[in-house]
């Protein structure tokens, strides 16, 4: 297929899926069939682009002109390819998982849920393939708005309150900071295209570049960089598949992906490194990493703990971007992939426990390993991957990030990475360890024998945890793809 049409189809297929889903609400089986087919077709489309991009092609397509001189245009480059690949693959897995979860949990309005989910994925593809900053911004905002009904799915007053925080912070930062940065870039350069080596070099004084960078980094609120992180724990009020795919993969990764993209293609790595205006942002990222880790240690609600863990892990990638060298950017990209697989597994497990045993608090999860051994083992694998131990994929992200920090001569950042890894053991490992080794809480009846989540949930968990292992041994293609960012 013509790569240009593959790009447009990658946007159109989930949208078409959303329409079909909303029309097939009368038959849940048919509706879920549509979801699975859509996700499968999307992944096939994205995969079809992989080879081309790997061979050095940069397929692009201009949709139409929106403003004089500014097009809605798409261009696939290695970073976007990796993000799109991860998001579309994990959507397929999440779709399987959702079937078990949503039915097992008797959620209401499932048709609306699946439809908005598909729209959100279309927006994520738009972010991944955007050829200029205006296009990226538009899809970034669509992603925010299409996930709002998912976050507030239950319609309760807690959901409404969380929805306000979600929308307020994400719209506030994107309109209040990012949009200004984009228009400012436009006035300085007369283009918003993503170009190798950036577009800002020589266009403005150092001070202006510094302010612009800060506007971008804080304006991309989806990175959950402190102090604009509150929306992510708030979003945990959503059903678990949403937390899993959107708030561990699609939405948050769209944020850090945008930061990487802006660093590489708007500012240019060499240009930023030369100016040194990103140094102080490294410390903001480091502070977010450590503070969020500490907060995660205090959480008793499993999903809340995972949310703070995500905040911390996202800032790894921001740190990678702000270290501004080729290895650290590649490290950021690697961590984007590895963390996605590990964190989605953790959320899947959290959801499985909630559906099967109706437990949400960590302190209540003692001894459940005997009832849900597969889930708890998967949780252990994913935890070890997040911590960064071999033989799990998560090691590679940290590895290259640490190399990047050394390359930038920032020994202290290596220290931050190591410290955070150590601390993350203290909040992640107790969950599976207690599940396996503690006695069940006295007076509480756990089901006799093994009782796992519905099989679609289990299948999804198996796929992602197997991927974590495979990614350790077969990370080569992803690494090679990311290194293409800097091959001119």
């Amino acid at each position: 297929m013509n790569p240009g049409s593959a790009i447009l189809l990658a946007l159109a297929v989930p949208l078409t899926g959303a329409v079909l889903i909303s029309r097939t609400g009368f038959s849940p089986n048919l509706r879920e069939g549509v979801t699975l087919t859509t996700a499968g077709v999307l992944f096939a489309l994205v995969a079809s682009l992989f080879g081309e991009v790997f061979a050095g092609a940069r397929p692009e397509v201009v949709l139409f002109q929106m403003l004089p001189g500014l097009n809605i245009a798409f261009k696939v480059e290695p970073l976007g390819m990796v993000f799109a690949g991860v998001a579309s693959f994990l959507w397929l897995v999440t779709s399987i998982y959702s079937i078990g979860y949503m039915r097992g949990h008797n959620e209401k309005n499932q048709t609306r849920f699946y439809a908005f989910f598909a729209i959100a994925l279309s927006a994520a593809m738009g972010v991944a393939f955007a050829g200029n900053m205006l296009t990226l911004f538009i899809f970034y905002e669509i992603l925010t708005l299409s996930t709002f009904p998912l976050v507030t799915h239950s319609g309760s007053s807690a959901a409404k309150r969380s929805g306000r925080i979600y929308l307020g912070l994400l719209l506030g930062t994107s309109i209040g900071l990012q949009l200004i940065a984009i228009i400012w870039t436009w006035t300085l350069t007369g283009t918003l295209d993503f170009q190798a080596g950036g577009i800002l070099e020589g266009k403005a004084a150092k001070g202006v570049i510094g302010v612009l960078l800060a506007l971008y980094v804080f304006g991309i609120g989806k990175t959950a960089l402190m102090p604009f992180h509150r929306w992510l724990p708030a979003a945990m009020v959503a059903p678990t598949p949403v937390s899993a795919l959107l708030h561990a993969v699609a939405v948050v990764k769209a944020g850090v992906f945008t930061v990487l993209k802006v660093t590489v293609y708007i500012f240019g790595v060499d240009f930023l490194a030369e100016l040194g205006v990103s140094d102080w942002l490294q410390y903001i990222a480091a502070a977010t990493i450590l503070i969020a880790t500490l907060v995660a240690m205090t959480q008793n609600n499993l999903k809340a703990m995972l949310a703070y863990s995500t905040i911390s892990q996202l800032s790894y990638i921001v740190l990678g971007a702000m270290l501004v060298n080729e290895i650290s950017i590649v490290g950021g990209g690697m961590h984007l992939v590895m963390h996605a697989f590990a964190k989605i597994t953790l959320f899947f497990c959290a959801g499985a426990i909630m559906v099967t045993l109706h437990k949400t608090e960590i302190s209540d999860m003692k001894g459940i390993g005997r009832t849900m051994p597969i889930t708890c083992a998967a949780f252990l694998i994913a935890s070890l991957s997040i911590i960064g131990l071999p033989p799990f994929g998560g090691m590679w992200g940290k590895w290259y990030l640490a190399l990047g920090a050394l390359e930038a001569d920032k020994l202290v950042m290596v220290g931050v990475l190591m410290l955070s890894s150590l601390l993350s053991m203290t909040y992640l490992l107790p969950v599976p360890l207690r599940a396996f080794f503690s006695k069940p809480i006295a007076g509480e009846e756990l089901p006799e024998g093994i009782k796992e989540a519905p099989w679609p949930c289990l299948l999804a968990i198996a796929i992602t945890s197997a991927s974590i292992l495979l990614l350790f041994f077969f990370s080569g293609p992803i690494l090679a793809m990311l290194q293409l960012i800097f091959t001119r």
């Binding site: 139409f64 002109q65 929106m66 403003l67 004089p68 911004f137 538009i138 905002e141 669509i142 708005l145 507030t152 319609g155 007053s157 959901a159 409404k160 929805g163 306000r164 929308l167 307020g168 719209l171 506030g172 309109i175 209040g176 949009l179 200004i180 228009i183 400012w184 436009w186 006035t187």
Partner: protein, 493 residues
């Protein structure tokens, strides 16, 4: 024959149709007749715009009398654009009007209502097309007097006080305007806009002309409800019949903005009024305050028509802000927002009209649970609301883009910050309604209601669709706005 006389037909068709409407008497017949007339004038406006885009400004001498003895009608890019805005909204609203008017106006008055509406429309169109300052005053009075009547026909008793307030303020505004015109006539001996533009620079430093500028600016600022001269607007919009509010909000203030643009950039085009006489900085300041004060006030309004009225005051602030930059980008931003705000706000007020028809109230509590009970109406509210905030792929985003761009081009980054902060205030007042409609359950004793009638929904979705369509592909509207800005600032013809 017809093609050559389009400029006069644009005004005369609705003007003469008004008395014919009175003769028809029957509500249905009056409505159908007014509908046909408004759509015809929309077609004329579109033809005029395409003629102007093709072959430049059109000058038309009424009765063959050349200026300065006769009255000249002059259609250039900006007047043609305003004609299209007014007639487009005017004709879409006629679709909406039938059920809305039938439920809000006493049956025996309906034919008079449509007659007044046609008068108002012809007045607004006349303002945009005339090239003569005194003729402009006449049309200003035609549109104003008819709009006082239209507002006072509101169901609520308070409509009468609101209309009276508007009458007093509007009369002061018009008087100021005519005083300004008189002073200019005293010094230049002409009422023709093009002639004034040529003769004014020679006498610009006189106190008389300075006074004329002050009278004109303040007078028109009253009509366009620039903060702090906006006090008449919230009441008038809140208590007028729904259809009138939607029409007025989208057209009356926009046409007044057009007059201000004409005064500042055509009549005083050869004089450095914006920087030299500090009009620019005054307008910038007032616009910024309007954007903040009015948006903040809007947040606390329980009556949603009143909330949207305050939002209009804020949006007028955006338009004036663009104008006050006196740069091509800024002026284009102001002009494009004339159009963008017109379609967005008319859609929002049409939603109010639908809700009044079915629920009977526009209090925020009346919106509880409406998301499920009137899904199409509330979906339109969400989309138009997003446009008000300035979310990408809506027209509001295009306006914000140009206003921020203009501010940054001048290096006035605090103004850019102000623009985005004020649009974040819009998030709050729009989302208040969204939460009520989608998160609050309907009151237990809420009556069973159905979706609004098809004709109203069609008009509503026409405007909602336009707020999206021209936000996705803004090149067409921007070509006109940028062309008009260039014409006013650079070519000066």
């Amino acid at each position: 024959m017809i093609a050559a006389n389009l400029p006069i037909l644009q005004v005369i068709a609705p003007l003469l149709s008004a008395p014919l409407c009175v003769l028809l008497r029957r509500p249905g017949a009056a409505w159908a007749f007014a509908l046909a007339v408004t759509w015809a004038s929309f077609a004329i406006a579109l033809t005029l715009l395409s003629q102007v885009l093709e072959s430049g400004p059109i000058s038309y001498e009424i009765g063959g009398w050349a200026a300065p003895f006769g009255i000249e009608y002059r259609v250039d890019m900006i007047s043609a654009f305003v004609l299209v805005i007014v007639s487009a909204i005017g004709s879409a609203i006629m679709l909406f009007a039938r059920h809305s008017v039938a439920s809000e106006i006493r049956r025996e008055r309906i034919y008079l209502f449509y007659a007044m509406y046609l008068l108002c429309l012809s007045g607004l169109l006349g303002i945009a097309i005339t090239g003569d300052t005194f003729n402009l005053f006449v049309f200003l009075e035609i549109s104003s007097l008819s709009s006082y009547v239209l507002i006072s026909l509101g169901q609520d008793k308070r409509a009468l006080t609101a209309a009276f307030r508007y009458l007093v303020m509007g009369a002061i505004g018009a008087t100021f305007y005519i005083i300004g015109v008189g002073l200019m006539y005293m010094m230049t001996g002409t009422l023709n806009i093009a002639d004034l533009a040529v003769r004014l620079p020679a006498v610009a430093s006189t106190t008389t002309i300075l006074a004329a500028l002050a009278f004109l600016t303040v007078g028109i600022s009253l009509k366009l409800a620039l903060f702090p001269l906006h006090a008449w607007l919230p009441g008038a919009y809140a208590y007028a019949p729904s259809m009138v509010t939607a029409f007025m909000a989208a057209t009356a203030t926009k046409v007044a903005v057009y007059i201000l643009i004409r005064i500042l950039f055509t009549i005083f085009g050869g004089v450095d009024v914006m920087a030299g006489m500090h009009v620019g900085v005054i307008l910038t300041g007032l616009a910024v305050i309007a954007m903040f004060a009015a948006s903040t006030t809007a947040i606390f309004q329980p009556n949603l028509k009143r909330m949207l009225a305050y939002s209009s005051v804020a949006q007028i602030g955006y338009i004036i802000l663009g104008i006050s930059f006196a740069s091509e980008t800024g002026l284009a931003g102001g002009i494009i927002h004339l159009f963008n705000h017109a379609v967005t706000k008319s859609a929002l007020f049409m939603v109010m009209g639908c809700v009044v028809l079915r629920v009977g109230s526009v209090n925020i509590r009346a919106f509880d649970g409406l998301g499920a009970r009137m899904p199409l109406t509330m979906a339109a509210f969400v989309i138009a609301g997003l446009s008000l905030i300035g979310i990408p792929l809506t027209v509001g985003f295009i306006s914000k883009w140009y206003l921020i761009l203009a501010a940054l081009e001048k290096g006035w980054w605090p103004i850019a910050v102000v623009v985005v902060l004020s649009s974040l205030l819009a998030v709050i007042y729009v989302w208040r309604v969204v939460e009520a409609a989608y998160f609050r359950p309907a009151a237990a004793d809420a009556p069973e209601i159905s979706e609004a009638p098809a004709s109203m929904l069609i008009a509503l979705w026409l405007m909602t669709g336009a707020s999206v369509y021209f936000g996705v592909d803004a090149t067409r509207t921007l070509d006109v706005a940028l062309g008009a800005a260039k014409l006013l600032l650079v070519d000066r013809i």
